[in-house]
Structure formats: C-alpha cells, structure tokens
Symmetry: C2
C-alpha cells in the first residue's frame, strides 16, 4: 500500500514544508484554527503526468504549477492562502531526485506566497505520476467573489496578458518559435494574482484556465447574462503580438492563462485601478456584460463579430 | 485536459452530492463558514486502482471506502465531519455506470455520516483510476486527540475487533475461507468510529490502518514511551477466531482495521466506557503504555513475548 521508503521520503522531502497545524506530518490529520470572522475558501486540482505536465518537465516547475493553479483559484475569489494538503502517487522507481526537485519548487513558492503544507498522502501507482492539491484560503465573511454576481452593465476586466500560456504550449510542442523563452515560461509557471483585493470591487470573478471566451461564458451562464468583448482590447504580451494575428484565436480560446477575469461595476473602475496599482498587477477593461441570453460576442475593430472555431459566439 | 464529457459528468453524478458552500460545483472554489470557536481537522487520502482497490470492486464500495478511510482519521482525532473535496482521475472509456455507482455509494454514506461534497476536480488519466479525498471536520478548540499525548501508565484501548480487514484481504485473494462473508465485508467497507467523543477522555489516538502493532509503535514514537499489549486481550470477531490461531499474527499486524487505538488515563476508563456505550461502540482494554524506549511488546498468555515477523518487538 505504501512506497517502500514512504516514511523516509516524507521525512526528507515533505516535513521541511510543513507549517503550524501540520503536527510535523506525524499524525493522521492536520489542525487549523480558522481566523475569527472569516470565511474559508477551498479548492482542489489534480495533475496527471502525460496529461497536465510532460514526463521530462523539471520537477520543481511541476510542484510550483500544482501549487499555483490552486493559488489562482483562491485569487479569483479574493482569498488569501493559509495552507494546503497534497497527494503524490508515484511509480515505483521514481528517483529521489524527482521528489527533491518537486519539494524544492514547493518550498520556493511557499515562501513567495506565504502558505505551508498541512498534510498529505503518498502512495505508489502502476500509472503515471498523479498529484492532487487541496488549498485553503480565507476571505472576509460574505465577501468571496463568485461567478454568478455579474450584472448587465458591469465592465469586463482581465489582469496581465491573455494567451501566453496557450502559445507556450504550442512552443513546447514545437509548433511556434519563442526566441525570448517568455511564452514557454508562462505556460510552465502560472503567475497567480494573489494579493489583488477584490472584495467590494468585483461583482464576479474567476481565473482563466479553459480559455478567455469559454470562461467568460461560464460567468455569463452563472450570472444569467451575456457579454461582449472587443478583440483589440484584449491585452497581449509583446511575445504574443510577435507571433502574429494568425495566433489571435489561440490567445482568446486557448486557456492556461491563470489571469483573473472580473466583472466590475462601472463606478468601481477607479477602485479596481487603485487596488491593482497597489498590488503591482496590470488590469485592462476588455468589454461589458449585457442583458440577454448567456452568449459571448467577440467584436473585431470594425464591429463585426469574430467567428471562433472553439468556444465563441455561441451558447454554452 | 478534461474528460470530453467532464461538465455533464459532474452535473449528473456529482452535483447531487454537493452541500451548502459547494456553490453547486459551478464555481472555482467552495465556501465554508467555520463553526465559531472550533478547530478544524483536515486529512487527505489517495486510493489508486490496483493498489488500494481491485479493478472489479463494486464502484459504490470504492466510493464508500474512500470516504470512510478519511472519516476514520477524523474519528481518531475526536472530530465531527463537515465536508470533503475529491479528485477523480479516470481512464478514457470508464463507463458511465462506474461513475453512477461510485456516486451512489458516496450519497449513501453522506447521509449516514452527515457530510457533503464541497468541491472537486475530474480529469482523464492514461493510468488506472486514481482518487483523492480531502475531508474537513471540527472539534472543540484545543481538544483534538493527537498521537503524541500518551503517558506511561495510560491504558491502551481499541474499538471493535482487530484483524478482520487483513483477513478479508486474504479472503479476496482466495487464501482464506469466509463462509459468512463477514471478513470480506470488513475489508471492503470500513466502519469509521465517527461519533465516539474522545475529547477529555483519550490522551492519544489514531486509527489502525497499517496494523495494530505498527500503529501502536507510531503512538509510542510520537509520545516517547513504550507499550505492552496482551495478545489474548485483543478483541477478535467470531469469524477471525474461526480462522484459527495461525492467523493471529495477521490480525495483529495486518492493517485495514479502521478501528481506533487509544491511550486513556486509568482514571478515565469509566468515562470511556460510558461514552462508548452511548455511541454503541465496543471498546476493549488490551494493554498499557510504559516508560522507556518506544518499543511494543506483545505478550502471550504465559507472559512470553511474541516474536512477530512484521512490525512487532522492535524499535520503529
């Protein structure tokens, strides 16, 4: 049921990551005294070798991506991270250096994002490396930003630049040049927008993981309204612009952005801009929510709707 | 990155399991307002097809076992369950009936143990079915029972009967007869001792999953003391007794019991017995913690220490 060296593996690689309440990873469970008067925000993601990461991806980047995709979900709710629990199912014979690199990546990001390991489970598997991470964050009571709060007339904003992750995957697959390495780095290492205070500013929010247009459709569906964005307003990085207009659709629909997609009432635009400046995060207004059916329209410069092969101009 | 029918799968099978705070599984995260003045207890377990369950195990039992092994960890800390998050990585082509059965098993146990689904993630995998479940419970502030609280002179108690799960595995492997089906059922479906109030009674506790002797060694190690148990005091089921004395060692060291192993100060024996009677759980005193090195001795009826091939009579 266990890896032969499970206890030693935990002691060497994972115990140094353990924080208060983890009981040194020597108990059956972790203890957490929740911050008084705060709501907890919980989310979980699984990552499977060959599906979410490639077998030869550097293990520190695998660990950091696993943590960061979950941090991104917390950021989208306006929550600050507390701690996480993790499972690692590894094939027998996984070298110790893999675990060392994986843990080193986690340690680096724990320090950056002020979060610690609370508990976990390690096991062997006859399949590929399979990881899961459950993260716990906190937010002022009742103030978590949801998907279903957007109202017609609210502006649509995004953080950072859109499409780099999807283009980075194309780079990894050898289909696109990336002289600066910027796109590949964006694919391998999401930048979760933790620390952007959204409570009282955003009416709705999520992080962009399935693609901008599809994820905007999720907010429209949950909120029961439509949305219109202007293609030329969507912020692109220099590297994405350099790829050329043939890649625009990939940017709009590709996913793996881990930027925040927000609904913001028009009279709170200044509050968002101030909060974003304080947090050092770029924010860009790209469109508006509209009354009507939950449909996403992407307009080109002249006003013509863009027809997208995947995930645009349709009901979800 | 997703199963083709991920959204539909979630809607049909998992949304009916979602409780308050799960936001209908339509958001990036779940919300939980922690019970005021309580500590949270968190634990996670992974289960992999071919390692923790067999490919042809009934899916409802797989779901129930996944939930119950985690409930058992909560029970060992004296905590009451609140909710859980889950990941399901399934091979492409996993039949819908598997998910239906899996969810039906979870639904049955959710009702029995008063716990609901808070969130999750589903994905495909080129490997075997791989599951993880993170559970959250609550306990009076500061009252969680730990592994490291046992003191020399405390009695050692267990709930229920020991060894049935390990014998049940032998039945599943065709190595042992099980005319009543009792042992196989105990292997497939743990009975977590949720609801046994341990706060103020147990000085230390854990659930028996690796085997009685090895797990007792974990408490000894964490508490910095030794332990002595009497083999003939260890409670065995009628089915385990019928297997005969040749299987005693399997019972003592085999694991998969999911009974509670407790340290209880001698003057709290009556309190434990009263709490156990109230909860309808059998409890049996099997030995005592001793000062000295963290060593577990199993004594036979005449007083001679039993030498165990696995996990006994040694330092851990």
């Amino acid at each position: 049921m266990e890896l032969p060296a499970e206890f030693s593996l935990i002691a060497r690689h994972f115990r140094p990551l353990a924080g208060p309440g983890a009981l040194d990873l020597r108990d059956d469970a972790a203890l957490l005294t929740p911050p008084p008067g705060r709501d907890l925000v919980l989310t979980v993601d699984a990552m499977v070798g060959g599906v979410h990461f490639l077998p030869d991806d550097p293990p520190d980047l695998v660990g950091r991506k696993l943590l960061r995709v979950n941090l991104s979900d917390l950021a989208a709710k306006g929550a600050a991270p507390i701690g996480y629990l993790m499972t690692v199912a590894a094939p027998k014979g996984t070298p110790d250096s893999w675990f060392a690199g994986f843990a080193a990546g986690l340690a680096q990001d724990q320090a950056q994002y002020d979060v610690t390991l609370l508990g976990g489970d390690t096991t062997s598997t006859p399949g590929p490396l399979s990881l899961s991470l459950t993260i716990i964050g906190h937010v002022a009571a009742g103030a978590a930003v949801r998907r279903n709060g957007a109202r017609a007339g609210d502006d649509i904003w995004v953080t950072g630049t859109i499409g780099d992750g999807a283009l980075g995957l194309q780079v990894a697959l050898g289909r696109l040049a990336d002289p600066s390495g910027f796109l590949l780095d964006r694919y391998r290492l999401p930048q979760p927008r933790v620390g952007l205070p959204l409570a009282g500013i955003a009416s709705a929010g999520m992080d962009v993981s399935d693609g901008l247009v599809q994820d905007l459709g999720h907010i429209c569906n949950a909120s029961g309204i439509g949305a219109e964005i202007r293609a030329e307003a969507v912020p692109l990085s220099d590297a994405a612009r350099a790829a050329g207009p043939a890649w625009l659709e990939t940017c709009l629909t590709g996913g793996d952005d881990y930027e925040l997609l927000l609904g913001v009432p028009q009279d709170r635009a200044d509050a968002l801009l101030a909060a974003a400046a304080q947090a050092g995060v770029a924010v860009t207004r790209i469109g508006r929510f509209l009354s009507g059916s939950p449909e996403v329209v992407v307009r080109q410069a002249g006003g013509t709707p863009l027809t997208l092969a995947k995930g645009g101009w349709s009901h979800f």
